[in-house]
Amino acid sequence: MSLTVIAFVIFAVGAIATAILMITRSNAIPAALCLIAHFFCLSGLYLTLQAAFLATLQILVYAGAIMVLVVFVIMLLNLHSEAPSTQYPRFRMLAGILITGILALELTGLAIHHGTGLNELPAVASIVGSAHELGRVLYTDYLFPFEAVSLLLLAAIVGAVVLAKRTLED
């Protein structure tokens, strides 16, 4: 087995295991830590796909910035362990299993049934995933979406400040 296949297996098992651990933790902090571990596994998967720059961004932006924000909010709220639902707990679980099962069958069935015929990474993959090439494409072909998304971030900052103000009545 090649090194890429071994790395894929390790990171894929790690990603699924941390995802399952995350949704089964009753406390929010261990769930957040599992999600951070999951992001590291995903970053490894991006590396097996030769997307080195996105692998770096995944750790910097997701595991670094966004998860710090989440952990901060959990700390501010000072929550206890999640008690089971008081309204139809069994029905809720059954509905979740049913809907997710159908979704999983559809998605994996789609991926298996309609084979893509792509069996190995092309040689250009490492060039496509480099910071140089991504930067060139981002600032030429996708310049307008880039500017639009910066406006979206500005709007989100203003919205967050307004929502998190002490009193909502003023």
Binding site: I23, A31, E82, A104, A111, E120, G129, A156, A164
Partner: protein
Amino acid sequence: MLQTLPLEYYLILSSIIFCIGAFGVLTRRNAIVVFMCIELMLNAVNLTLVAFSSYLGDSAGQIFVFFVMTVAAAEAAVGLAIILALFRTHKTVYVDDVHSMRW
């Protein structure tokens, strides 16, 4: 043994992760955990985009991942602010305890 990885492996993996996230959204009560499950689903889609981008040798998919990350950051800022405001007014973050807008 397997020498190369077909693209389908990545697609199946990301669909499994997406479904785990969807299950979490449907069954958990804590709004912050629901929020983290949505992040899980977003990342599963990101994995699909990166896999297609690398296998087709086209950088457009990886550019979309940039934009998904940006939207996720905006969502984190606004979503967590909403959860904070919810906690301040209702003293709870459990989504089934909040029913002031439910019919």
